[in-house]
């Protein structure tokens, strides 16, 4: 059953993105930024975690979970260290994604040439 809901929720998030591309003529940068902000705000209201429990990867793989993860890291640190934790804990959870992207990006620049 988790596969089914992952499929539906992940698909719906992508369809929202596609609508923003085609109907509102937003650039990919604007669309992805809006989705990240949406993820952060949803987590602020405590709504994103239930969605992950419900849809698994359908909710964690789309970019909205990046906003969710940022808030999560910030809140965890904030519980230990107060307000400063919001800043210091920001990348706690998302570090893997960003570090991997930087490392693989640099490697790719060494290995590959643009294909055109």
């Amino acid at each position: 059953m988790i596969f089914f809901w992952a499929f539906v929720v992940g698909g719906i998030i992508c369809v929202i993105g596609q609508i923003m591309f085609d109907v509102f003529k937003l650039t990919p940068a604007h669309t992805l930024s809006a989705l990240v902000v949406a993820g952060a705000v949803l987590d602020g209201f405590g709504l994103y975690e239930p969605l992950i429990d419900f849809a698994g990867a359908g909710a964690t793989i789309p970019i909205t979970s990046f906003g969710n993860a940022l808030v999560h890291g910030a809140m965890e640190e904030a519980q230990k260290h107060g307000l400063v934790g919001v800043v210091t804990g920001m990348f706690e959870v998302t570090s893997a994604g960003i570090s991997a992207a930087i490392i693989f990006g640099t490697l790719a620049a060494l290995i590959f040439k643009p294909k055109g």
């Binding site: 992952a6 809140m75 919001v86 640099t106």
Partner: protein, 115 residues
């Protein structure tokens, strides 16, 4: 709709490997994105999948990796380093700022005993 098919493909991969800990999976997904980008497949996939390939975390990896490859010709420091985040930077900026505001409000509310 096509996005869903791409999405399921990733989801099946994902669920078979890791159920709970997301971090290694994210790194693996970005590694896959690197290979697809480097071999010139990702841009073709995207033309037909649209948001289906842009919205998942692989799209984030593709944004960074494609910019890094593209600007290799301007040198490693100014080209790759300076341009790597030219597409993904907007996502990080808006995400971090939004998370900061949300985190700030939530922390203050907790400290005031409202939550």
């Amino acid at each position: 709709m096509i996005g869903q098919f791409i999405q399921t493909f990733f989801i099946y991969n994902y669920n078979f490997t890791e159920q709970t800990a997301g971090n290694p999976t994210v790194a693996v997904m970005i590694f896959i994105a690197m290979l697809l980008t480097g071999f010139g497949v990702y841009d073709r996939l995207a033309q037909f999948a649209g948001a289906g390939s842009a919205v998942p975390v692989t799209g984030f990896g593709n944004a960074i990796i494609s910019a890094a490859i593209e600007h290799r010709s301007e040198g490693f420091i100014l080209g790759v380093g300076g341009n790597m985040f030219k597409l993904a930077g907007s996502v990080i900026m808006s995400g971090v700022f939004a998370a900061f505001i949300v985190g700030l409000i939530k922390t203050l509310l907790i400290q005031w005993g409202a939550l």
